[in-house]
Amino acid sequence: MSRAERAVRPGGRTVEHLKSWLIMLPGLVLMAFFVWEPLFESVRMSLYKTRNVELVRFIGLDNFVSVTGKDDFLQALVNTFSYTFWSLLIGFGLPVLLSLLIGETTRGKSFFRTAVYLPNMLPGLAVIILWSAFFSGEKSGVLNILLSRLGIPAQTYLTRADWVIPILIIIATWKGAGSTALIYMAGMAGISPELYEAATIDGATVRQRIFHITLPAIRKLAGTLLILQIISVFQIMYEPMVLTKGGPDNASLSLMQLMWQYAFGGSMNYGKASAVAVIVTLILLAMTAVYSWLNRRESDWD
């Protein structure tokens, strides 16, 4: 009896199913315990008046009404979208550019790959502390020392409400662009060399090869990384928390940081913190749904 025949026998199928479930079981248990249960608990908590982590009484949507009615929520929401905007402006194209440049390099490719990935290997907090010395507004700040060599007086950076988010995104991009560039490089490695050879024989320039072969080939990958980047930036927390503490005057406060403040910032209001978490989740779900819809529509056209 062939394997295919065994598989279609009712008893055989049950055994195969059982094996599959057994293989998945540890993962499912871990997911249920560490992901799904806390997630549902968080949703439940958002509907209750809480005393630390205890549920006191059901209050419906009061926590949502309370948190969304405050100025700091609106500020945090606007800031979070601002983070996303600046992240796409500064950080989306850079990994593509890096991967293209490294892809076109003929010597020292491994060195450049390692070099762009290196910041990603540094601990996140160390990176923040490093850049805080760079952007320090004191005369001893690294950037101010460099500017003073050019005769420019010392500036403040992190205390300026309109500069603080772009600066934080520059820091996050410096740290994260290398790893994204590696993914793009892997994507580009999958493009058939015959396409480039044919283009070269036809006399295509580097620019034409990039715009007519490379970029169209990685378009879907870029779409996936775009949504991942938006989801990631939407959850930005430790960068502003460490570098600016959400300031000045809440100018860098993110939604995740606001959630942290409700839970651990002195008030221990886990109900309101959960409400903010649920709102963030809903926004991200909506974004993911839009992306999936666009992606599916595009696939239909293809």
Partner: protein, 476 residues
Amino acid sequence: MKKLSTALCMLLALSLILAACPAAAQDVGLIDAGLTCTITLGNWPSDTAPDAEKALFENYRAIMAVQYPNVTLVPDYYSYTLSNYVPMAKGGTAPSIFQPPFTDPQLLISQHLVGDVTDALEQFGVLDKFSPAYVEMLADENGRIYGLPRDGYVLGMHINIELFREAGLMTEDGLPMYPKTLQELAEYGQIIREKTGKAGLVFPASEAYGGWLFTNIAWNFGCVGENALEYQDEDGRWVCNFTSPQCIAAMEYIRDLRWKYDILNADATTTDWAGAHSLLGTGEAAMNFAADDSVDQPTANKGLPVEDFALVPFPAGEAGRYALAGGTCYMFSPDITPDQAIALMAYLKVLGKLPFLDESIIAGMRADYAAKRDRGAPVLPAISAWTDADYNAAKQAIVEEFSNVDMRLYSDFFGSLDDGSITLKSEEPVFAQQLYRELTAVIQRVITREGADVTKALQKAQDSFQEYLDDEINDY
């Protein structure tokens, strides 16, 4: 050198253990000699802590082993923060003893997250020796005690004398001509900025620090009594009051420090407590509102020589001369048993944190002050949280033995406490951390936007904090 310090530590250990033996007899009648339990001790020095500190705690453990052989001590490196403590307390994994700041006990007590040690304290006979202000901070409405003071502090001002010297602000006696009033602070800071290019005052206006310091300034502008930042009305409801003329004047003063006098450090909104000490210690700022318990920060930790450092009283305002008094306390996990509570009091007694005098405690104090002197930190008289005169006099004698500073640089600070020229005041009574955060947001606004409307910003903060008070207390 390392061998010498190790040998000294071992010698100290031996002397402490030997000294501890007769002391055990003192507890006969107080504690059951067969007391048997296990206690976990938070804030135990980590493996990377200085050798002297580790040796000191090992000595404490050795003394406990002699005095209370059936009490098992389990060291724990746990360091308290509100956010990490709550899940541990709820999950039953909090250490038996930990050290929160004085801003948190009332919150922890109200949420039933700490253990009651009243009966154990009575057994040790120290209940009536607490400074009343500390009892108030560490008890519930029924007078049950949930914590013990570790140490107290009074807010004053740290001075970098080198920058005062550079700015020509020195008396004929070679002492810094420090500001006595908030107005003088602005003016002297301006002179320092002009003469040295450095910040006159470092103001840590991030998270809750800015609001914390602001409350002291506000008190000196008259935000006390009926104009207090928060108070209880006739119905017992808590009311936030950030929009009194006094509070507005205090916030306008902060605004002037930035825009009129320009004496603040450049990155005030990102500067925290440690950053402020760093700026003063490294000569980037001349003055810092800070307390007597952190004099080691700019000196031993940041390299400012003790002869270039002074501690002076908090500057007086138009309507008062208050200084914030607070500190750190010991609290206990909510699930401690009566036996564990007694064992924990015994441990604190060995640490010299209860008002008992014996040779082992005096030896411990000596070791503590010797370590401070060796690190290059000023050895200063401590502000006691106990009312026991003998205990306080013994500590003072040891301080004088190890003193490494010119006390003229500190005499006005300690003198103001003794002669009553400064009034000590505890932190705002309810939800102080949240109140500080609201005020910090206003401070950040007024020091980053020149045209910021102070009254409007304070009104917004008041509305927000009032909603918080209603939610957490008034309508709970």
